[in-house]
Amino acid sequence: MPSLCALSLWDKGHKEDTKTHKDTQRKIVMLKKRIIPCLDIQNGRTVKGVNFVDIRDAGDPVELAKKYAAEGADELVFLDITATEEKRKTLSELVKKVATEINIPFTVGGGINSLEDAEMVIKSGADKVSLNSSAVKNPQLISEIAKQYGSQCVVVAIDTKLVENEWRVFVSGGKTPTDLLAIDWAKKVVELGAGEILLTSMNNDGTKAGFAIEITKQISEAVSIPVIASGGAGSKEHFKDVFQKTKASGGLAASIFHYNEIPIQELKNYLKTQNIPIR
C-alpha cells in the first residue's frame, strides 16, 4: 500500500510501482542482501520511540519483532542496553519469548561478556550472539564461543570512527577509543572464528546521511565473512548505495523502521527495481 507521505511523489512512485510488479515476476535467483531492523532493549522493553499505531504495545519487543518479520525483515538484531543486575534474567526471558514467536533468524547483543552469557542467550533460542567491547578486551572469547556453537553463531560488532584519517575501533558504546584500526580488527576477528561482522560507523550513526561507504567497502572486500553495514541509513537510496558500492551482505537500521519512515516492504520493493537481489 502506498504511504500517504509519498503523495507529492505520486508520479515517480506510480512508475516505480509498475516496475516493481514486473520485477517481482522475474525474481533474482541468488543469495539475497539482508534487511535487518535493530531493536534496542532496556529491562525487557524496546527503547527509543516507536510510533506504530497498528500494534498493541509498541514497547513490547516481541510485538515489534513480529510486525517486522511479517513485513519482510530478513533477520532481527536485539541490542540489550540494560545496566542493572536483573539483566540476565529479563534478557533470557525475552529471548525465550522471541524464539517461541518469531520465524526468522535473530541475533542478541549487548553485554555478552563470557561464554556463560553466550550460552544463556543461545540456549534461550537466539541464532547468533553479538560481541563488541568484550571481544576487544578478551579476543579469545570469539574463539571459545565459535568452538562451542560454531562460527555461524558469532557476530562481532565493530564500532568505528574516522579520527585523523584513520578508522579507529571504539568500545563501551562508542565512548572509549582503542589503538585498533577497524580493518586490522576485522581481519583478526575472522582469524579468531567470527562468522559475521556488524560494522557501525559512528560518524554516520544517527545522521541519516547514508552508510559509511568507504570503510564498509574496504572491510567487506578484505574479509571472507559477511559484513552488515550499520549507521546512517536515512533513505532507500542509502541501502541501494551500500549494496551497489560495497560487498556488504546486509544493511541494518533502527529508527527509520521504528518510526515507519521507510516501511520494510517499500524498501525491499524499491531495491528490487534497482536489480539488487532481495527476498
Binding site: M30, A99, I104, P105, I122, G125, G150
Partner: protein
C-alpha cells in the same frame, strides 16, 4: 506425536518452537522406542559431521534412523548425515541418499549465510511453494545434485537444497527459520 532426535548437534529448540507455533506437539528424545513409534521423526542439527556420526554410531542411532518407516525429515546437518559420505571430517554417513557432501569452494563467502532461492521443485514437501521462493541457509558444506534432489539452490555451485527417497525427506535450509515459506514446507511434512 512428533519425535525430534536428540543428539550432540544443537538447534533443537528452534525446531520444537516452530512445531509448537504450527500447533504440533513434539518430544525431544533419543529413546529408541519413542523414535520408532513416533508419527514423524525430525532429525535437525547444527554442528560437525564426523563428531555427530560418531555420537550416533556409539548409541546405535545410525541403525535406528535407517530403519525408520514413518516420514523422517533431516534438516541442515541432518540432511548431510543422511547422505553417503561427508568431506567434513571425511566420514561415512547414513547412506540413505547416495550422494556426497562437499565443502563449498572458496570463490565466495563461506558459509553461505542468508536467504536464497529454491528452484526445480518437486514432491510433496513443496506443494504450494513457488519456484524461486527464498529460504534461510547457513552452511559451509552441501550435498551434490543426485537422483533424489527435489529442490535445487545455487551458491557458487548448484546443490541439493532438498532430497527425498521413500519416507526420507531432507532440507539443507532451515524451514523453522524461513518465515512463511518455511512454515508451509514444515506443514507439508507434518501432513504427510
Amino acid at each position: 506425536m512428533i519425535a525430534i532426535l536428540k543428539y550432540n548437534a544443537g538447534n533443537i529448540a528452534s525446531v520444537q518452537n516452530a512445531l509448537t507455533r504450527l500447533g504440533f506437539e513434539s518430544v525431544v528424545t533419543d529413546d529408541v522406542d519413542i523414535l520408532r513409534n513416533a508419527e514423524k521423526v525430525i532429525f535437525p542439527g547444527v554442528g560437525e559431521a564426523s563428531s555427530a556420526m560418531k555420537y550416533l554410531k556409539e548409541r546405535n542411532l545410525d541403525e535406528v534412523i535407517r530403519s525408520l518407516k514413518q516420514p523422517v525429515l533431516g534438516i541442515c546437518l541432518g540432511q548431510q548425515l543422511m547422505c553417503a559420505f561427508s568431506e567434513e571430517g571425511n566420514v561415512n554417513c547414513l547412506g540413505i541418499f547416495k550422494t556426497i557432501v562437499k565443502k563449498f569452494p572458496p570463490q565466495d563467502l563461506v558459509p553461505q549465510m542468508g536467504w536464497n532461492s529454491l528452484t526445480k521443485l518437486s514432491g510433496p514437501l513443496f506443494q504450494g511453494v513457488n519456484e524461486s521462493d527464498d529460504v534461510y541457509f547457513v552452511h559451509s558444506y552441501y550435498a551434490e545434485l543426485c537422483e533424489y534432489t527435489v529442490a535445487t539452490c545455487n551458491y557458487i555451485v548448484p546443490f541439493s537444497a532438498a532430497l527425498q527417497k521413500d519416507n526420507f525427506y531432507a532440507t539443507q535450509f532451515h524451514p523453522e527459520k524461513s518465515g512463511s515459506v518455511g512454515e508451509k514446507i514444515l506443514m507439508n511434512f507434518l501432513k504427510l
